[in-house]
Symmetry: C2
Subunit: 137 residues, 2 copies
């Protein structure tokens, strides 16, 4: 079992890569960071769950087709569980704030996304309600 | 590594236990089904993330304090990944429909909840977009 403290930077890196692909409007980068063998799901804000990789990638091509987007993730908190982990973070967009649960698994030596669920939430004025220090971007 | 097909009923049972505790307004049952050692998080609809077990349980005591609730989960889909899994499902409440991502880990021989994230979503008219057969309740 890996040391959770050692895996946190790698998981945050994977989470950052997701938001970089989103902000860059880069569908190839988005495709590369999602798992290829593990099951995957994606819940876009206010929508039902997509549970098929091809449907998820088609949704991202639609979203990213507009080009670079103004999005950034703040207050990420990593929850490591053996060979998987999830991250909660807030997403700051021009028209509002969302909160996301992003799940990652180890696949071929890399942390790859297996679930993204974003929905409406206010931005917290302070850090999350525990003692962990979030990485502010 | 367990056979995913063999673990699916146990994970669905854990997911059902969560909604049974919710519907019964039973804070003790809710407490028992959340992990005790693994990290936990909870995102109630439209709210920010709670990332501390005591804060999460306090939120459930508030929610369940009103007594039995009219809630049922439909279209659950299980995504098993080694000793963890997540379930997406729709929640039917008197005033609307939500979609949830519920994450579970194996702890002390049981599947225990480590993340619940619910937010607004329409109820899909058909089954999810893959070939798996959801368990309808």
């Amino acid at each position: 079992m890996p040391d959770p403290s050692a895996t946190q930077p790698a998981i945050l890196f994977a989470n950052d890569a997701f938001y970089a692909a989103f902000a860059d409007g880069d569908p190839a980068a988005m495709d590369a960071l999602w798992a290829r063998r593990a099951p995957v799901s994606c819940i876009h804000p206010g929508q039902t769950a997509l549970t098929d990789r091809a449907a998820i990638m088609a949704s991202w091509r639609d979203i990213l087709g507009a080009g670079p987007a103004t999005i950034r993730a703040v207050h990420p908190v990593v929850f490591p569980i053996k060979d998987a982990a999830w991250v909660t973070c807030h997403e700051i967009l021009p028209n509002g704030t969302l909160i996301a649960t992003n799940v990652f698994v180890r696949e071929d030596g890399a942390w790859r996304m297996v679930n993204h669920h974003a929905g409406p939430a206010p931005l917290p004025e302070a850090a999350p309600d525990d003692e962990r220090k979030p990485t502010l971007q």
